[in-house]
Amino acid sequence: MNNNLKFITGLTPTKLSVNTAAQKNASHVLDTTELPTTRTEAWKYTRVAKIGKIDFKNEASTVTSIDDKKVIDSPHTLVFVNGRFSKELSADTFPAGVSVKPLSTLDGISTQEEFEGDIFGALNLAYLNDGLHITIEKKAVVEEPIQVIHILKGEAQLSNFKVQIDAEDFSKATVVQGFFSDDASNSFVNYTSDIQVGVNTHFTIEKIQDEEAGNFHIGTDSVSQGKDSTFTINTITLNGSLVRNNLNIDVIGENCTTNLNCGYLLKEKQHVDNHTVVDHRVPNCNSNELYKGVMDENSTAVFNGKVFVRQDAQKINAFQSNRNVLLSDNATVNSKPELEIYADDVKCSHGSTTGQLDDDAIYYLRARGLSKSAAVQLLVSAFIAEVIAEVGNEDVKTYIYKRLNERFGWDINPEDFG
């Protein structure tokens, strides 16, 4: 086994019935690949060497309650601790048209078989602890969200966790994902998903990332969209020392809409890296990416957004925007929106801005009687509200505003911003 991967020598390979071809490929990647360094293009601004120095374990653990580790109150909540399914804390009834099965209960788990050198994807599969398979049945319109909670617990734990979602044709549903931790440090959740969005299907993910400082989160959502479908993911990153989110969206059917919205609100030495790939293979589709960050203290953020428009994918509208506000001189952002367009009849734009709050605006508000901190809070709230407004579920919004108050002392009245 590769020397660079001694961080996983303490782990036991997966016992789940993952298909053998995938398992073989995953082992091969792990045997032949080193941890990425900043010389690796896709990891240029994100150092994972720290992860390589930890001697990870993967121990079963329990939490007594999820009272302060949930995004919303939902009777359809599923809980995982260190990647393992917690039957006691999880619901067993679901809305009509929804079936949910832990991966550990399945006889065969089919996944992608190629990893293209993606060490974390290979790691996830080869050491997969558990996860979920959610099916939204054909034509099911599910109003109540399904909530999936993952909790990291303990010292130097590595959780390999996967969510598979099959949103069948003409269905509509929302999954709320909450990533938390409980007394964890130096622990690492390595998450993947396989999401199939069927024909004429509306599927939404509201993802909250709120692990404690001192922990790592690397996740890859792989989505494939059938024709006439809408896929939306709203990611709000509130905490965690190192967070890397990969979103890979294959738009394989015509007339699709893809919405990727993300807000990250960082302080201390937090590092958040968002990599998105939207692959427009067919004509007549729209994709919208809105990534906004508020960065305080010594935090760093990376945005790398790729949009491919293949040769025959005419009439594509692809918009991408990454905007950052720096609240401290020590915060930094590396932003790289990329468009690769091989079709000629398309409307694409990308933009990236990073700057301080407008001093003239702060002075103006103070000259009307607002304290400096109230002025800053108002400007920051106005800035980030645009992303939060995209969150469709009111209870998720309430959670976000509550946490912004706890972490930053921002007392935001959501009604002021919509």
Partner: protein, 251 residues
């Protein structure tokens, strides 16, 4: 209400105000006129508390307190208001909501209870009517996409909402057509009382037909070089500022 004594101020080592004296009492309206670059906006900014200036000499007392030692927001809460020559646009921040915050911060500072939602909305209705500001504009993002005239009316709307003791209007008339000018002047005149005072900075005598000043001062090269009754404005309009320059040379 405000007493400015021998005020000297620099920006980036360049002297802008060079010994400015001015006293304004409650119930009075003072006009400050002067050529471009004389230092009128600089004076207004220093009074409002903009931090880019270095005060090298002099003092400003506002209701007996040392104004220059006060934070910008405390000056506002104590009743000083500047209608900006160039109001900033603040995308995403609702005009109304920020004004509610401003009013409540002022009230808290003065030891009063916050304004009720009902009273606040009544106040918005009353004051937006006074300056004929469309209620929709009043609740949009601060100045975003407003025309020049709308921005100026919004400044007077905010002034009406905050009911300051001392209002400083920095070229509020520039760029306004005669209708807008009348509306703005009417707003200012309606708010005028024995307990408050107004400093009107302007380029043009025209405004002073509508807001009649008790005193007119000429600010030239960082100092008040001439003061007189409202007729002085007409004289300036007629003769221009060269006449003042010549007088200065003779003196």
């Amino acid at each position: 209400m405000i007493t400015i004594k021998n005020l000297h101020a620099n920006i980036e080592d360049k002297a802008i105000l060079k010994g400015l004296n001015l006293e304004v009492k409650a119930g009075e309206v003072h006009a400050i006129m002067g050529p471009n670059g004389a230092g009128k906006s600089t004076l207004a900014s220093i009074l409002a508390g903009k931090e880019d200036y270095e005060i090298t000499e002099g003092s400003v007392s506002f209701d007996g307190e040392d104004l220059l030692e006060m934070e910008t927001e405390d000056r506002a809460r104590e009743g000083l208001f500047l209608a900006f020559q160039y109001p900033v646009e603040i995308p995403g921040v609702s005009n109304i909501n920020f004004l509610r915050t401003a009013i409540n911060e002022k009230r808290e500072h003065l030891g009063e209870d916050p304004i009720s939602a009902k009273d606040f909305m009544a106040l918005v209705r009353e004051k937006s009517k006074l300056v004929e500001l469309d209620a929709k504009l009043a609740s949009r993002s601060v100045n975003e996409g407003f025309s020049g005239g709308e921005k100026k009316r919004n400044e007077i709307f905010q002034m009406a909402m905050l009911e300051p003791k001392l209002a400083i209007l920095d070229e509020t008339d520039s760029g306004l057509d005669i209708d807008a000018l009348r509306i703005v002047a009417n707003g200012v005149n309606t708010l005028k009382s024995d307990n408050n005072a107004t400093i009107v900075i302007t380029h043009y005598q025209r405004l002073l037909d509508y807001i009649v000043p008790d005193f007119v001062h000429v600010l030239y090269d960082g100092r008040i070089v001439k003061s007189g009754p409202k007729e002085l404005a007409l004289e300036l309009e007629e003769k221009g500022y060269d006449w003042i320059k010549e007088e200065l040379v003779e003196a």
